[in-house]
């Protein structure tokens, strides 16, 4: 495997940047790979647009910009127009089915996960919808090992939230049979 580009678009407060950090940490520190994570966000810390990008590679990452994402994760309707056109042909599009409705068929595979409603009903906290998506994504793509992701969660989220995040991630794994 060469270079995998992942782009995550959503709104501030959804854990968009955290998702990027988790993927990068798992790849770089625990999976023996190289990773670069970049981000941008608008002026409002909650509710504005947020974007995180991750490149995972077997070799040193030269160009650090995500240009044509192999994997595009959309967590808000607002992000569709901004990022959908960037996805690589035959790429994987993961969406939070509760929040993203306006995605038409295209030259990509759609992974549709009702992450927010699962997080709300089963975890009592919509804030971990991103972890559910990550779980499903990892199970589907085998991009990174489950162990590495779990280690990344344990070392990256606040102590009090580790269990909640791990549970959400594991719930995501279960979605893909």
């Amino acid at each position: 495997m060469g270079r995998t580009e992942i782009l995550i678009g959503g709104v501030g407060g959804q854990g968009v940047v955290l998702s990027g950090i988790l993927l990068g940490t798992a790849a770089s520190l625990y999976d023996g790979k190289q990773a670069v994570q970049t981000q941008s966000y608008s002026s409002e810390l909650r509710g504005g647009s947020a974007r995180a990008a991750v490149i995972i590679s077997e070799e040193r990452v030269t160009d650090p910009e995500v240009r044509r994402p192999d994997i595009l994760i959309l967590m808000a309707e607002d992000a569709v127009g901004r990022y959908l056109h960037k996805i690589k042909p035959r790429g994987l599009l993961a969406i939070d089915a509760d929040l993203v409705k306006g995605v038409s068929e295209g030259d990509y595979e759609i992974l549709s996960i009702p992450a927010t409603s699962i997080a709300d009903k089963e975890m009592n906290n919509i804030i971990v919808a991103n972890l559910i998506i990550l779980g499903a994504l990892i199970k589907k793509t085998k991009l990174l090992s489950v162990e590495s992701m779990e280690k990344a969660i344990e070392t990256s989220v606040p102590k009090k939230a580790i269990t909640l995040n791990l549970n959400a991630f594991r719930r995501g794994l279960e979605i893909i049979s």
Binding site: G20, I21, G24, T25, S28, L29, Q34, A35, V36, Q37, T38, Q39, S40, Y41, S42, S43, V61, T62, D63, P64, E65, R67
Partner: protein, 384 residues
């Protein structure tokens, strides 16, 4: 002490945090700044960590007082830094000139953001490159380093402190929001493997009347405060003893030349570049985050059989003209890449144009570093 300052280990770390860790490892004791995106993570991290090692970060009333306090702390004998972005640098410029004039070691981190004016705060561009060299009034030389990764945010911050202390001068770290907010593997070595430099100070008990504390091209020992040196430190034109002279033009000439020569004389030691242009006919010249796209494009071009090399400027100021000339003598085509509309390009062209064809490839979107595909197209265009 060293262990507490150096967080040895392997991390997936943000560039800005790596910068703060680098400052701690280099021995920074005092930091002052004013909140500004995209530099705040450095300030936040320093505010948390510096007190743990006996230092402190101070949030000042503005950027003017931030750099002033940093200069004051440096004269009090402390290793000191400030962190900001373009708008903050614009406010600091007068006092940066002051720091140069009275030869004050300090580190100034500019995490560049979308500009001009308030621009776009979270988008990184290389928009303040020439400001660092020419922003303050008058002729002067300054040192500026351009990191391209979180690892270099750490490494270059250490180098910046070492250069500042060694040459008694402000040193710029010209990062940008892209690199500052980038996360990547950062390896922090053990404390004893990190070289740190401290400024020379005069022998205790030196007669203040005989002390030459200024304007030495080989860097005068710094008569820091509180040691009985009775230093008169004025940014007005002065002589080697610090004595003000506002009347003789020859004194001004000496003042200007010696300050500049202090840097230029040591340019070879200061200049850091990354060369990869052996047998290349086309050389991509760039710095900072852009150099990574250049490296990607060069590698792809070579796979296609086009002899493309790269030259990456780590030290952008003092301008490494000799390095550019050396490269241009061997190349046929030079392509300059920057994430701006061509700020360092004229300097590169001036050195290279006599030996090679020089062209500039601006980014398709200012704020997004060049797509290696675009660079490849440009390479094919010039190789025809």
């Amino acid at each position: 002490m060293g262990e507490k300052r150096v967080r040895t280990g392997r991390y997936f770390m943000m560039g800005n945090v790596a910068c703060a860790e680098g400052a701690l490892a280099a021995g920074c004791e005092f930091a002052a700044g004013y909140p500004i995106t995209p530099a705040t993570e450095i300030a936040n991290h320093l505010a948390e960590k510096l007190p743990q090692v006996g230092g402190a970060f101070f949030q000042m009333e503005d950027e003017i007082s931030s750099i002033a306090a940093v200069i004051g702390a440096s004269w009090a004998g402390k290793k000191a830094m400030t962190v900001t972005s373009g708008p903050g640098i614009s406010l600091m410029l007068e006092n940066i000139g002051f720091a140069i004039g009275v030869e004050t070691p300090c580190v100034i981190v500019n995490v560049q953001r979308g500009a001009p004016t308030t621009g776009m705060p979270t988008i990184g561009i290389q928009g303040d490159m020439v400001q660092a060299k020419h922003g303050s009034h008058g002729d002067y030389e300054i040192i500026a380093l351009c990191p391209s990764s979180p690892q270099e945010m750490f490494d270059h911050t250490v180098i910046a402190f070492n250069y500042a202390e060694k040459y008694r001068t402000p040193v710029f770290l010209l990062s940008d929001a892209f690199v500052g907010h980038m996360r990547e593997e950062v390896v922090i070595p053990e404390a004893e493997k990190i070289e740190t430099v401290c400024r020379n100070i005069p022998e205790p008990g030196t007669d203040p009347l005989k002390m030459k504390g200024f304007l030495d091209e080989d860097v005068a020992p710094m008569p820091i405060f509180g040691k009985g040196f009775k230093a008169h430190v004025t940014s007005s034109c002065h002589d080697e003893y610090g004595k003000r002279n506002l009347i003789d033009i020859s004194a001004l000439d000496k003042f200007v030349r010696r300050l500049s020569n202090k840097i230029l004389k040591h340019k070879e030691e200061i200049t850091l570049v990354e060369r990869d242009y052996e047998d290349a006919e086309i050389v991509l010249v760039s710095y900072g985050g852009v150099s990574r796209a250049a490296a990607a494009a060069a590698s792809q071009a070579r796979k296609r059989g086009i002899p493309v090399g790269t030259l990456r400027l780590i030290t952008v100021w003092p301008f490494p003209g000799e390095e550019i000339e050396k490269m241009a003598r061997r190349a046929k085509q030079v392509i300059v890449l920057e994430n701006n509309l061509g700020q360092v390009y004229p300097y590169i062209k001036a050195e290279a144009a006599h030996f090679a064809e020089v062209s500039f490839l601006p980014p398709r979107l200012v704020g997004e570093i060049q797509d290696p595909e675009d660079i490849l197209r440009k390479i094919e265009e010039v190789s025809k």
